[in-house]
């Protein structure tokens, strides 16, 4: 029998009450860890997207926002594929390349994934304007687009691989690495998507972007299967930087008045802003939650102290000093805090991993580096919240057992 054992036995004895003591702090830590896990991934995704997109202008439907482009909701607006033709035949200066896309979220074998229809190089390149130009030729040196340089970074090579998908048959699909993993598919397997049979032509290596959760197929097949004939949800355009500053955007806007034309720079800025907002929100959350968590643990400890008044009085009577009483209670608070922190970390990480792919098309990985922080924060909050109850416990009269009933 020593002080540690005493704390532990008491803790076990009252374990049925734990849920009330732990609830607030656990949920608090869970929310913070969840938000943090998602925003870390989405920050990374922004950085890689910028580099990886290979295009620098996006043509989106008028009503669409950038989120639609990323999340590809079922009712996301579309516009006619014919717009590609309009731009192509307009002889607009500075358009190096175009890539129309139709993206929808679909459920395959219980997995939520994005299905993106693309036009392969050979079909686009057959259009006269593209024949001699741009990305599809000798590497990606054609333009000043971000990330278009051919350095040796691994995922850039992969990006080029994807960008230069030479040919994709109407019954073929290409899987992002995570999509392949989740569907347990490898090259040459077959799969049914939205009622159409596909052969897996290729599995892309991991890029760390939302593309990992994508299935690429031929644009026209996707249009047919989804019943969205001759419509696309975006056109990615590779424009020359000089041309952009020379007013390429406004020329495109004149050409396609009922679309929304933005540059990747703007998109990234918006995304960065969203992330900043997320961080601010999580900071506010942090403060509120820590306060609520601390008060809730303090309240729990106060109830515990009150229930144990006679016990504490007896300990004081047989010679336990106030300091020892403080230690007994703060040790209990510490156990509570660490348990709450650990549980919160697990729940928050689990929630982020589960919800991330469903709502943000982000594959969230556990962030072990958040665990020590979660434990430390929860422990400190628990200790602070328990300070007053511990102090009051020290004031319990040692002779309470002799005077009270």
């Amino acid at each position: 029998m020593n002080l540690t054992k005493l704390v532990w036995l008491e803790f076990k004895y009252h374990k049925s009450q734990l849920i009330t003591g732990l609830l607030a702090i656990t949920l608090g830590v869970a929310v913070i860890v969840g938000i943090r896990s998602v925003s870390v991934v989405s920050e990374k995704a922004v950085a890689i997207n910028l580099d990886n997109l290979g295009a620098n202008i996006l043509v989106l439907p008028q009503g669409a926002n950038v989120d639609n482009y990323y999340t590809a909701d079922i009712d996301a607006p579309t516009f006619p594929e014919a717009y590609v033709e309009i731009v192509a035949t307009s002889a607009l200066q500075g358009v190096d390349n175009m890539s129309p896309k139709l993206t929808r979220r679909i459920t395959v074998r219980g997995q939520k994934l994005a299905l993106t229809g693309i036009l392969p190089k050979n079909e686009l390149a057959s259009k006269p304007l593209w024949q001699k130009s741009g990305l599809f030729g000798a590497g990606a040196k054609a333009s000043c687009a971000p990330g278009a340089a051919t350095d040796n970074g691994a995922y850039k090579d992969e990006k080029l691989l994807r960008k230069s998908i030479d040919a994709i048959e109407e019954d073929e699909c290409i899987l992002g690495s995570s999509a392949a993993q989740r569907l347990q598919l490898k090259e040459n397997d077959t799969i049914t998507l939205e009622g159409g049979g596909f052969k897996v032509a290729k599995v892309l290596t991991e890029t760390g972007t939302i593309d990992d959760d994508r299935i690429f197929a031929h644009l026209h097949t996707v249009q047919r299967l989804l019943g969205i004939k001759e419509q696309v949800s975006a056109i990615e355009i590779m424009g020359c930087c000089n041309a952009i500053t020379d007013g390429l955007l406004s020329k495109l806007r004149n050409l396609l008045p009922d679309t929304k034309i933005t540059t990747i720079g703007q998109i990234v800025a918006t995304q960065v802003q969203t992330n900043k907002l997320m961080n601010k929100v999580s900071l506010v959350f942090l403060v509120i939650i820590l306060f609520v968590g601390g008060v809730s643990i303090g309240n729990f400890m106060w109830a515990n102290v009150n229930e144990r008044r006679k016990e504490i009085g007896m300990l004081r009577m047989i010679g336990f000093s106030k300091g020892v009483i403080y230690r007994l209670l703060l040790a209990k608070a510490l156990i509570l805090g660490i348990m709450g922190g650990a549980l919160g970390y697990i729940i928050g990480t689990g929630a982020a991993m589960w919800l991330g792919p469903q709502f943000a098309q982000l594959a969230v990985q556990p962030l072990p580096q958040l665990l020590p922080a979660a434990l430390a924060i929860a422990a400190v909050v628990a200790l602070l919240g328990s300070a007053i109850p511990a102090y009051l416990a020290g004031k319990i009269d040692p002779f309470i057992n002799m005077q009270e009933e």
């Binding site: 005493l6 036995l9 009252h14 009085g313 047989i318 010679g319 336990f320 000093s321 002799m402």
Partner: protein, 224 residues
């Protein structure tokens, strides 16, 4: 016989809106080592207050209490904690056992901070539990024990730190007559075999008969 406890002019005054109450009024007596002192008196006569002052659990308003060469009435809080931990054992009407600890664990409680190994503490507890006749109940929780057995555990807890003084406030107050006799016999045995000084507050004349010294209080004063 050596004097272990000297109480001189001990006064405890409670301030109250209806007028001050002298719970103890110039109480003086001395206790020799090995005495079994019984303290009687009607309800409100100051018996519990006297024990609390002797243990330094409340501050007296006047007079002194001297335990050997330690002056309880002028000691600091931490000195008093140490004094209670090392010299005094308490037995109360409500046994004040901790519900989530077994008999043996409750008994070991005063040794929680002692510089002994777990095994040494266990051995000490076993020994004392044998003394109070509960060696076969050591792993029982208080709720699994009868009232008399609980009081035995409390007595064992009071003995484990090898105190020089046992302060008991109506230790048989919650027990029926037969059980009371058992407990009183036990205390008497401990008093005799270990030469342990006991001060016991009681209402019952039968219990009071166990003492070799009898103090009777009336309105906070000792009457012979």
């Amino acid at each position: 016989m050596s004097t272990i406890l000297t109480i001189s002019d001990l006064t405890k005054k409670y301030r109250h809106a209806d007028g001050d109450i002298y719970a103890l009024n110039k109480v003086s007596f001395a206790v020799d080592k090995g005495d079994f002192v019984t303290i009687t008196g009607s309800s409100g006569s100051g018996k519990t207050t006297l024990l609390l002052c002797l243990a330094g659990l409340i501050q007296s308003s006047g007079g002194t209490v001297q335990f050997q060469d330690f002056t309880i009435t002028s000691a600091s809080d931490s000195q008093l904690s140490h004094f209670r931990k090392s010299k005094v054992g308490f037995v109360m009407q409500s046994f004040a056992l901790i519900p989530y600890l077994t008999a043996a664990e409750n008994v070991m409680l005063p040794l929680a901070q002692a510089p002994m190994s777990g095994r040494q503490k266990q051995t000490a507890a076993d020994e004392i539990l044998r003394l109070v006749g509960l060696e076969n109940r050591k792993n029982h929780l208080p709720k699994e024990l009868s009232a008399g057995q609980r009081q035995r555990v409390a007595i064992a807890r009071a003995l484990i730190n090898k105190p020089e003084l046992i302060l008991a406030d109506e230790p048989t107050g919650n027990l029926d007559p037969t059980l009371s006799t058992d407990i009183l016999d036990l205390l008497s045995t401990i008093n005799k075999t270990q030469n342990l000084t006991i001060l016991m507050v009681t209402h019952s004349p039968m219990a009071a008969a166990y003492g070799n010294r009898k103090i009777h209080l009336k309105d906070g004063e000792v009457v012979a």
